[in-house]
Amino acid sequence: MNARDRVLARDKQVGAATVRGEDQRFLTGSARFTDDVRLERMVHAAVQRSPHANAKILGIDTTAARETPGVLSVFTASDFGGPLPLIPIRLAPMPGLERFLQHPIAADRVRYVGEPVALVVAESRYIAEDALDRIVVDYEPLDPVTSIDQAMLGKALVHEAVGSNIGSHYHVSRGDPAGGFAKAEYTRKERFRCHRHTAAPMETRGMVAEYDGAVLRVWGATKVPFFNRRLLAKMLELSESSIDLIETDIGGGFGVRGEFYPEDFLVPWAAMQVRRPVKWIEDRREHLMATNHARETECELEIGMKRDGTIVGLRAIVMADLGAYARTGGGVALARAPQFLPGPYRIADYGCEVYALFSNKTPVGTYRGPGRYEANFFRERLLDMAAADLGLDPIALREKNLVSAAEIPYDIGKLVPWEGSNQYDGGDFHSAFRQALAAIGYASLPKDGAAIDGRLHGVGVACFTESSGAGPSESARIVARPDGGYEIYSGVTTMGQGHETVFAQIAADELDLPLSAFQVFHGSTAYVDEGWGTFHSRAIVVGGSAVKMAAESMREKQIALAARRSGLAAADLRLSAGAVLRKDDASTVLEISSLAQAAKDGDAEARDATHIKARFDIKMRTYSYGSHVAHVAVDPETAQVQVLSYVALEDVGRVINPLLAAGQAVGGAVQGIGAAFLDELIYDDSGQLITGSFADYLMPTSTDAPPVIPIMLEEAPSASNPLGAKGAGEGGIVAAGAAVANAVANALSPLGVKITALPLSLDKLAASIRAARRESR
């Protein structure tokens, strides 16, 4: 059966817009988030953080803090005895970044506002925070590096021992970029900038660590618990089997939560010292300065075209500000931006120079759609500029250059140095684009600066591709219980996506059971032998496939066992509603609950058919794709932009649950649209973060959020996995900055406003409008 037939052979649960079983605990206040974990004799930690962007530490006096009633201990770097461990890179091992790793606590130098300097453990959080004020740190401030230009210039150095702020510098290409440009009849080069912002999940980071002398348990794990356990074991010199990382309910992740941060070492280490459970919950101010930032990237992009709009070459210099240290996410976003710069277009000749730069700002990590949000903005903006220069329709220009269905699989080359070459594995980009335009009613929308009631209307489009399904593998385990219930265990984690319902849907079809038969457990290191976690839109693609394999295996084993014991042929039996039945008269041959009881009583054969483990190994990345279209109205006097309608369309191969998939698309789009106008982490020249609260760091509210039409296509099921699924969690955000920027530029085209940078915040857009008016005078 090919991938397409598998989708057509749709059965009951997969594909149904089922409401989530997990909702009740969230709606009634009985969920258990990290700060809801409460242990006997638990004490509380608070972190002293650097107020300077770049400074030497001359001395730390903790005497007064230690003497504060209720304080158990104050830890600084000197308390660790011996060399401090370094936090390594988990993925995207960009050569050179290993010279910029962070210690969990600063010893003699701080490099960003928010870097941990001391940890207080006290009987209450109130006491711990008060004691922070009694720690005296003697700093000698140094000149900070606060911009990409300063980092490149290298007048001040973030890490003197390295001798440069350039952490990595490499070149990737496909075809012959110089040859391509030699054929160009038109070229245009622009410098673009995407701003520093972050995910800001509603629950901040946090954890509770308890050590009983034999076992270390840490609640609050998410994203990649197995990797983090391996790391923590090494850093604490414990065996992995003596550490459990336990997943709680998680209030949003979006890539930033669950990586290994300094506190992921400090808090467990402190719990081992004080021999009482230690809770640490990040406050919002800390979150904005200590949790990974993202996206700050500049790009010099040049396109070569024929007069008819055929792209003949693309070349770029991509520079990203990674902040003060290389975090676990290494150079993911920076490496993905060059990979996705050519996007879904037929660009045979492409080259990109990449610079990883360090500065005295908070380190960066991955945030939903890393590198894609930035790259799509750069490319789609330049395409519209080129279309305007050549007098071409921006839709026709894209249709001319989109890779056609006949050209797929399309080789995108080796654009990430430490990876092999990749292919777009399936799809019809033109079909997706046409459907997005039709859904918003593109042809009849007012655009190109049409003035209605004093506002200028514009429409912007953006086409994209998006990779998902990172390997190597994922585990699942299914247990049939004597009471008729089934337990599904998965190595992936969940931060709100609804995997509990989706995994139950997948297993329900294989075992022909209602959803209510299942309980889904995920994330914690005790559940499966090995897990790889949730990132790169892999939970369904890889984790869901493992669940499907485990359920298939359970069905086959139970039918085989029933056949052996009854003497009937397996082909004459089927599994339904917790029993193996004869196909001819539907009479019961074997009750699975009895089998589960027998397994409990020691029947090895019964156990083998009721306790199933599976591991799905994925051999290739899979690429979803789609188009976004935005319709905006801009008040040219106030620079107020209203997004009137928005289509976020993505082909995700196979939609397991349309209700949840639409939720990902709408939520992602609003996050991305919001970021294009609001979210910005702003630093002043001294390296102080001046958007360190939710009063300053703005995110879209219900009155900002535009109406979004989510469209999920299933035209190109993936051959990479038995579900046919492609990632669905990031397609909503990746093209949002691009589409709204193009729409605003289109609205303001009569004024000649040039848009090359995000965000389009009120002040910046107003300044651009003023500049355009001055120029036209």
Partner: protein, 143 residues
């Protein structure tokens, strides 16, 4: 001690969440004598003698009321962290204005930040709950 710390630490009512501790995100919203307030911006003693409702009190234990069921039906929550604050805010809205327009719903919950849903399903869930209540009490216009 702040009201939200009192609810969570002293009473063990952990359904009320802390998202920013400076009154912007709305995750800690509770009903104080029926009015929605930020539990992170007041001291517990200021609530002395008042009638407080948290998310735990919206329906009998183990049950969900019509608003909560509408949130489930419309997939108006993903991570669920902001949800208790939005439910209490919407409860106050529907008591004061049982038949709100979409614009009024959006304005009412504009002090509650949700990072997951994009608000669209939340607004629909609240409107649907209002319509169902109006129909049930015979006051609603057929739509």
């Amino acid at each position: 001690m702040t009201l939200v710390d009192f609810l969570r630490e002293t009473l063990g009512l952990t359904g009320t969440h802390i998202g920013c501790e400076h009154g912007v995100c709305g995750a800690c919203t509770v009903l104080l004598d029926g009015e929605s307030v930020r539990a992170c911006l007041m001291f517990a003693v200021q609530a002395d003698g008042a009638n407080l409702t948290t998310v735990e009190g919206l329906a009998p234990p183990g049950e969900m009321n019509d608003l909560q069921r509408a949130f489930q039906a419309f997939h108006a929550l993903q991570c669920g962290f902001c949800t208790p604050g939005i439910l209490t805010t919407a409860t106050a809205l529907l008591r004061e204005n049982p038949n709100p327009t979409e614009d009024q719903v959006r304005r009412a919950i504009s002090g509650n930040i949700c990072r997951c849903t994009g608000y669209q399903p939340i607004v629909r869930a609240i409107l649907d709950c209002a319509r169902s209540r109006a129909t049930a009490t015979g006051e609603g216009r057929a739509k």
